[in-house]
Amino acid sequence: MKLIIAILREDRVEDTKEALETIGVRGVTFLYVTGRGQQKGRVSVRELGESLNRNMRMQLVGTWPGAGSLLHNDTEFAFGFLPKRMLIIVAYDEEVNRIVQAIVNSNQTGRHGDGKIFICPMISAMRVRTGELGDKALS
């Protein structure tokens, strides 16, 4: 039994849910988290344009006089901790590769901030409703 913890972009959550459903994974938990990686929360304007709406981008320009001319696509802003989603799945050992593939395929954009996937050992599980233990609790 393995615990899969993935940190994902917020706008990729729906795609991820679909991808997991098609490979037959039903038990999924999503958490609202904030986080950052080796880039320390830096986001380029290109990315902002995609994830923020126009109004917010205009506000950003408004708060910093003269920023408009500097806002070309590679300008970076440091936001510190960015909103992310944490995905938690407990799965059988043999399913792990398939789930990791599905998460990677539905989340990969090739830019910084795509997230990480961690696989940890999980010792046991219990279904609260029936008290079933171990592998039976997952099926």
């Binding site: 988290v33 986080g35 320390k40």
Partner: protein, 113 residues
């Protein structure tokens, strides 16, 4: 993998200290909970859900001890009765195994883990 439950007000200090040592990847969760003191009583009201910050950090095995010590020294608040020790509610640090780590961007093994 290090899970640290700390006071919200010391989170910023811990993050800054980790920053200086070059530990970049941190995930932060807002949680509530209580320890073995079962919360706190302020006046007539008893609180069992005390807001805390939970930090999830994955580091190479060699850096675990260093990271735990940094979190410990920064998250500890000064105690009047027992100098050198912290106060009740400073939090806990848990360390568990990670079998595998992947970076989604490159779909490869995350470096250093």
């Amino acid at each position: 993998m290090i899970w640290a439950i700390i006071r919200p007000e010391s989170a910023q200090r811990v993050i800054k200290a980790l920053d200086i040592t070059g530990i970049g990847g941190i995930t932060r969760l807002h949680v509530t909970g209580h320890g073995k003191e079962m919360g706190i009583t302020l006046g007539a009201v008893h609180y069992t859900e005390i807001p805390k910050e939970m930090l999830m950090i994955v580091v190479p095995d060699n850096d675990v001890a260093k990271t735990v010590m940094i979190i410990r020294t920064e998250a500890k608040t000064a105690s009047k009765s027992t100098p050198g020790e912290g106060t009740i509610g400073d939090g806990k640090i848990f360390v568990t195994y990670v079998d595998d780590a992947f970076a989604i961007r490159t779909a490869g093994k995350a470096c250093g883990t």
